[in-house]
């Protein structure tokens, strides 16, 4: 049997020479986008509403998908008006499902760009780009005897992936307390499934809190809802306000057990230099250089005068020879005033200036 994969890989090598300068994938992708592995994609097979503003997307991943661990999140690329927008969503499906399908649950953010499109306007058959599953907020291989999950809003999603995975594991199961907050019962994603699970599973203690009525979860509430919280390995996921409270409380009480926290939005590390309001701190991450840039100077010039080796070209926005990935922050196109942001976006440093603190991969 091992002769076959060896042969297949040799055939692919030959095929890559034949397809040069492209790859065999580029041709396979013409037959079905799911056959291409270079830019992995998935096709939406079903969209199931969960709450008025959240829906579960069932996705059949293509050849390039390499699996995940329960609790991980998935970068999703969705095309809108010809432009690919990337967002990350927690996987709520059990890893390695027999039907090979994945699920994510998307909550439409009010005023959002990509999430309302995904939750409300994604017909089955839509092809989405898939990034590799990421994150270390996962169900551990060796399970602790007692666990505590603290979630709020769509923070329930990674925990749902973990719970569904635990259900399928052979006993003994760890004892799990899940404390979940949602504004009202109506907004509580997976409510009926969790209620049913609580009644069926002796090892699951599901506590729902409705913040519009009961107020936000405070550390003293936790004492009441889960008196042995100090002895439990804890996973917390939700809005920054909740996670800040949890982290502070755990630090203060110094419980022996580990705390795992998943933040949906990373808080960027801001440069240390702070100058006049009109100048913005800029970090060049490769060289570690930090300088202050004014809003009218091209970042290429800013970098060069600080001694950073920068890619350059025509210096007037024509040749794209200076494209540099933005790590975080915002830049303003000096020609159009257009703002560009988003980690990993390639910007033309010769015609872009700082619009606030930022970091460049240079």
């Amino acid at each position: 049997m091992p002769a076959i994969p060896a042969l297949a890989s040799r055939l692919l090598t030959v095929a890559s020479w034949l397809a040069s300068p492209h790859t065999p994938d580029d041709y396979l992708g013409l037959i079905d986008p799911l056959l291409g592995a270079r830019c992995p994609v998935g096709r939406v097979t079903a969209v199931t509403p969960e709450t008025p503003d959240a829906a579960t997307l069932t996705i059949r991943p293509g050849r390039g998908w390499s699996g995940h661990i329960a609790g991980q999140y998935l970068p999703i690329g969705v095309e809108m008006d010809g432009v690919w927008h990337w967002r990350t969503y927690s996987l709520t499906s059990v890893p390695g499902r027999r039907d090979g399908l994945l699920t994510i649950t998307v909550k439409a953010a009010p005023g959002g760009t990509a999430s309302p499109q995904l939750a409300h306007r994604t017909p089955p058959g839509t092809v989405l780009r898939l990034g590799p599953a990421q994150g270390d907020f996962v169900l551990p291989g060796r399970l602790p005897p007692r666990m505590l999950w603290v979630t709020a809003g769509s923070g329930i999603t990674p925990v749902m992936g973990m719970l569904r995975t635990l259900v399928l594991r052979p006993p003994p199961h760890p004892h799990v307390v899940l404390v979940h907050s949602a504004p009202t019962a109506r907004d509580s994603i997976f409510r009926s499934e969790l209620d049913a699970a609580r009644q069926r599973l002796a090892w699951l203690d599901y506590r729902e809190r409705h913040t519009r009525h009961d107020g936000r979860l405070a550390p003293q509430d936790l004492e009441r809802l889960c008196p042995d919280w100090r002895e439990r390995e804890t996973w917390a996921c939700g809005p920054a306000a909740l996670l800040d409270v949890v982290e502070r409380h755990w630090r203060r009480e110094k419980p022996a057990r580990r705390l795992h926290v998943e933040r949906f939005r990373l808080t960027p590390v801001l440069p240390r230099i702070r100058e006049a309001a009109s100048r913005s701190p800029v970090v060049f991450t490769r060289t570690g250089t930090e300088v202050a840039a004014d809003p009218a100077s091209p970042l290429l010039v800013v970098g060069e005068s600080a001694g950073v080796p920068m890619r350059y070209g025509c210096r007037r926005g024509i040749c794209f020879g200076c494209l540099t990935p933005l790590r975080y922050g915002r830049v303003r196109d000096l020609r159009t005033g257009e703002l560009h942001q988003g980690s990993g976006q390639l910007i033309q440093t010769c015609v872009s200036a700082a619009a606030g603190p930022l970091a460049l991969d240079a």
Binding site: L18, V83, G313, I318, C319
Partner: protein, 358 residues
């Protein structure tokens, strides 16, 4: 014929002209969307289907109709790949889609010269210094004399011959040109960086040559020889076509050249003026425009090198109207006329000329 100095409009008009062109540019940028993305993906799919079809037909090309069909499909595929896809994607025209598979930073093309080297000489040097004698190496590709502002040397007497040899071997010419051996001779480029560029070129060329002249013919078995000839024909057709379109976009008779002094401290409006006066369009139908990579709209391409190519046709009438309004020549004509005119220029400047105006 003599080279005339660039037409300068009065300063305020020049500013106004620049603003009008900037307005066209921002309108196109605001309008880019789903249809444009659909367009480029359709061209990519068409090109790949034609290439696959051509390769399959050439695999059984002992059968003469298969040879003809295969060679035709492969020729068109290579033309599309170079002109509408490679040239335009490498200009960053499609970077706005945020698609890593269709991006100037990742795209590689079926041409001997590596994309990286070409982006430097073409996007950077040529598009920045369009038709500035002494700065734009594309003005005659180092070996030709295309302007009265260039000094006549005895070797220019045989430049019609260079052109006949260059056309079918265009990709080799471009690859050598992109190595910038003349810059090494002039001391503007180090031997070390020439060696690095040469390594990149040899690696790329080995794959391209192996594919067309060894692997596919070998796979064709008994059709080895006709397959190899088909591939050679397709590459030659592509080279002749690319050479024709590029020369006709830059060298028909009235296209202006500029001196370094004339571009010093150039305003945005003057920059547009130079791009427009330094280029020439070729008239034709929609299919002709696609096959030329929309470089038949060379004037619009030079004014807006990073706008999606499928938009040039719709903005061309507006650019032309503006030129008429401001009394700026807009050089255009059918292919046969531009081709004849380009040859006229090659022949004219092969002889020493008296410079009447400097």
């Amino acid at each position: 014929m003599t080279v005339t100095p660039p037409a300068r409009v009065e300063t305020d008009l020049d500013e106004e002209f620049g603003e009008e062109l900037d307005r066209i540019r921002s309108e196109v940028i605001a309008a880019r969307g789903t249809e444009d993305a659909h367009y480029i993906r359709t061209v990519i799919a068409t090109q790949r289907r034609l290439e696959a079809g051509g390769r399959i037909a050439l695999a059984v090309s002992l059968f003469p109709p298969a040879w003809a069909a295969g060679t035709a499909m492969l020729s068109v595929a290579k033309i599309l790949e170079n002109m509408e896809l490679g040239h335009n994607i490498l200009h960053g025209q499609w970077d706005w889609m945020g698609d890593p598979a269709i991006h100037s930073a990742t795209w590689e093309w079926d041409f001997l010269t590596p994309a990286q080297a070409w982006k430097h000489t073409h996007n950077h040097l040529h598009h920045t210094w369009t038709n500035v004698v002494g700065r734009d190496r594309d003005l005659g590709y180092v070996v030709f004399r295309m302007s009265g502002d260039q000094r006549w040397l005895p070797r220019h007497a045989v430049q019609p011959l260079y052109n006949i040899v260059l056309a079918p071997l265009f990709e080799w010419g471009i690859a050598l040109y992109d190595l910038e051996p003349d810059a090494v001779a002039a001391g503007r480029k180090t031997w070390r960086s020439l060696a690095a560029d040469l390594t990149g070129f040899l690696g790329k060329a080995a794959r391209q040559l192996a594919k067309d002249y060894a692997l596919f013919p070998l796979l064709a078995g008994p059709s080895f020889l006709p397959c190899l000839l088909g591939n050679l024909t397709a590459n030659t057709v592509r080279n002749l076509w690319a050479h024709t379109i590029i020369f006709c976009g830059h060298f028909p008779g009235e296209v202006r050249t500029f001196t370094e002094d004339s571009v010093e401290g150039e305003t945005r409006g003057e920059w547009y003026l130079r791009q427009i006066q330094g280029s020439a369009n070729i008239e034709g139908g929609p299919l002709f425009h696609v096959l030329s990579g929309n470089l038949s709209h060379q004037i619009e391409h030079h004014a807006f090198p990073d706008l999606p190519s499928n938009r040039y046709a719709e903005i061309a009438p507006r650019v032309r109207e503006l030129c008429e309004k401001y009394g700026i020549p807009y050089i255009t004509g059918p292919l046969w006329r531009q081709y004849g005119s380009t040859w006229g220029r090659i022949l004219r400047f092969s002889l020493p000329s008296v410079r009447t105006i400097s």
